[in-house]
């Protein structure tokens, strides 16, 4: 039993405080690297859907050529009418979307911004701040600015909340910020600007009111969404795609996974982290075994089994995993906070990822223990006499 016995692995590891500290630091670095890589990967995936996550509506119409929500292909507005033919459909709203150039009013720098145009009577987003600010957008060249934007666009939120009037240029046209919302940014732009369809068309003069990007369908309460979806799919055939918001988000993620190598890049980072941890733990265990071979052989001569020594080495490996995981996770929490502020990407310590990192650290340490154990074979009790 573990607690009855002299904790050989623990005593051996901690006998030299400096060595123990160095070993744990190695595991901490590995754990931290895993947290960061997995965190960024997850944040990028999640940020990619930050806009679609806030979209209201029961079903969404998009062009079959639209691969990414942020880079939509337009389709004729008149196609929306066909959906209204279904008895369960209460309304179909046109939604305009395009990437414009925002000029930071303080630095003058021009950065991409996603601009959304929606009917004045029906904001199609469900986001913090929208309900309060929406009515004020119904004047020319006014709109709501997404506070959760990258710093490159300027600290609009701070100035706005301080009571200042913030004006900036989108596509060289002066706009006034009349409120702020919280949506979140993905890859394609540094921020979001939400306004009415009329204002949208002013900012993008080459766009026509008759060509929209998304149709948002509202159903009668109690209607079976999937049944309506089937019917509308038949009605539109190959002309438009009819998706639930969940399907839209899933398709968005799938596109990203298939087309951006970030999954591979960040997974490589995790592998590198595991390898660093593996190498350090292996080095520590191997050195400890090597410098204690006569003593281990003595234990064998006394009547300790090979299994006891193997168990001791693996225990040492698991102790290192534990001792590295906890400070590594605390450090990761701090770095997540910094990363969140710098990139505005949604980085949070989640239980799921915590278990993932824990599993990886345990596996990494256990594996190095298994490899180091081979060194025990050299402990031959017949050779110590």
């Amino acid at each position: 039993m573990f607690f009855r016995d002299i904790p050989l692995a623990w005593l051996q590891l901690t006998h030299s405080k400096a060595k123990f500290f160095a070993a744990v630091t190695g595991v901490v670095v590995a754990v931290l690297l895993m947290w960061m890589q997995l965190g960024f990967l997850d944040a990028l995936y999640r940020s990619a859907t930050s806009v679609t996550n806030h979209l209201t509506g029961d079903l969404v119409l998009i062009s079959p050529h639209t691969k990414e929500f942020a880079r939509p292909e337009s389709f004729p507005r008149r196609l929306l009418g066909r959906a209204l033919g279904h008895p369960d459909v209460v309304a179909v709203h046109p939604f305009y979307e395009a990437t414009g150039k925002w000029q930071n009013p303080w630095s003058g720098e021009k950065r991409p911004i996603l601009v959304f145009g929606m009917p004045p009577d029906e904001p199609l987003f469900d986001a913090t701040g929208l309900a309060e600010g929406w009515s004020k957008t119904n004047v020319a060249d006014a709109g709501l600015f997404d506070e959760v934007c990258r710093p490159s666009l300027g600290d609009v939120g701070k100035h706005f909340h301080a009571g200042e009037t913030v004006t900036a240029e989108i596509n060289n046209r002066r706009v006034t910020v009349v409120g702020t919302v919280r949506i979140g940014v993905g890859f394609q732009a540094d921020g979001n600007f939400v306004t009415t369809d009329a204002n949208f068309l002013r900012l993008f003069p080459d766009r026509q009111a008759s060509a929209i990007d998304v149709g948002v369908i509202e159903l009668r309460p109690g209607a079976d969404r999937l049944v309506v979806q089937m019917a509308l799919r038949q009605a539109y055939g190959h002309e438009l795609k009819v998706q639930t918001p969940e399907e839209l988000i899933a398709a968005e993620l799938k596109f990203l996974q298939d087309n951006a190598p970030i999954g591979f890049v960040f997974s490589m980072g995790v592998v590198v982290g595991c390898f660093i941890g593996f190498a350090i733990v292996y080095q520590v265990l191997f050195t400890d075994i090597s410098s204690h071979l006569p003593q281990y052989a003595t234990l064998k001569a006394m009547g300790y089994s090979d299994g006891y020594l193997v168990k001791t080495v693996l225990q040492a490996a698991l102790i290192l995993a534990f001792c590295g995981y906890i400070p590594g996770t605390i450090l990761a929490a701090g770095l997540y906070e910094i990363g969140k502020r710098a990139t505005m990407l949604p980085m949070d310590l989640s239980l799921h990822r915590g278990m993932q990192v824990f599993g990886l650290s345990l596996g990494m340490c256990f594996l190095s223990g298994l490899v180091a154990v081979r060194r025990l074979r050299s402990a031959d009790p017949a050779e110590i006499f």
Partner: protein, 226 residues
């Protein structure tokens, strides 16, 4: 009372084929329970090999060895491990674990016997260290002990589980003459008190008077089994 060690017609060789080198030839030796036997002989005469065979650290090739009533020539690896738990080993070098205190090193020996609970284990280790004169050094690490003190800890480790047989390989080799003799005297006295047999390999002429019997070995043969 049966003999502690009964070796008959033991032959042993290292290597195979052309490299085969026989080190033991028809060795027969008995060590009575409770007696102290010193084995002497030049380096390479096979006495250490004999000691490792008796201690169950090598597998018997030809001949018979009975130790404390166990047939070692018929025993598998697991049985050999089990037999070793009833033997006390004292080595040339103390081989104490440097990250354990003197007391913990002694406890390691008792931990092999699951019937001894931890409080008893600690108490017996402490008593044993007092017996070897280290009552005030129990929580010292080996690095803080002198050579003689370390060897006394290893004697405490070998004796604490009250084995009926103690195998010692040049226990004085790393010690100066005074502490060397003290250590062997201690070993001999405690073995007598516990009724344990001792088989000790040594080159040290100054301790021969502590033996009940002296066996000489040369070129793999026992010269005088008297």
């Amino acid at each position: 009372m049966p003999d502690a060690i009964d070796v008959r017609d033991l032959n042993y060789a290292f290597g195979e084929g052309e490299l085969r080198k026989q080190v033991l030839y028809d060795v027969s030796l008995t060590v009575q329970a409770g007696s102290v036997v010193i084995m002497m002989g030049p380096s390479g005469c096979g006495k250490t090999t004999l000691l490792t065979l008796v201690g169950g650290l090598r597998t018997v090739q030809a001949g018979q060895i009975e130790v404390l009533g166990h047939d070692l020539d018929a025993a598998g690896p697991a049985e050999l491990v089990a037999v070793r738990r009833h033997i006390g080993f004292v080595f040339q070098l103390h081989n104490l674990l440097d990250f354990l205190t003197a007391q913990q090193n002694v406890e390691m020996s008792l931990q092999l016997h699951p019937e001894i609970d931890p409080p008893t284990r600690r108490r017996r280790a402490q008593e044993m260290l007092k017996v070897v004169g280290l009552g005030d050094r129990m929580s010292y690490y080996p690095a803080a002990l002198s050579g003689g003190q370390r060897q006394r800890v290893s004697i405490a480790r070998a004796l604490v589980a009250q084995p009926q047989l103690i195998l010692a390989d040049e226990p004085t080799a790393a010690l100066d003459s005074t502490s060397g003799r003290q250590v062997v005297e201690l070993l001999q006295r405690l073995a007598k008190e516990q009724g344990a047999a001792v088989l000790m390999v040594t080159h040290d002429n100054r301790i021969l008077d502590l033996a009940d019997r002296i066996v000489h070995m040369e070129d793999g043969r026992i010269l005088d089994a008297g």
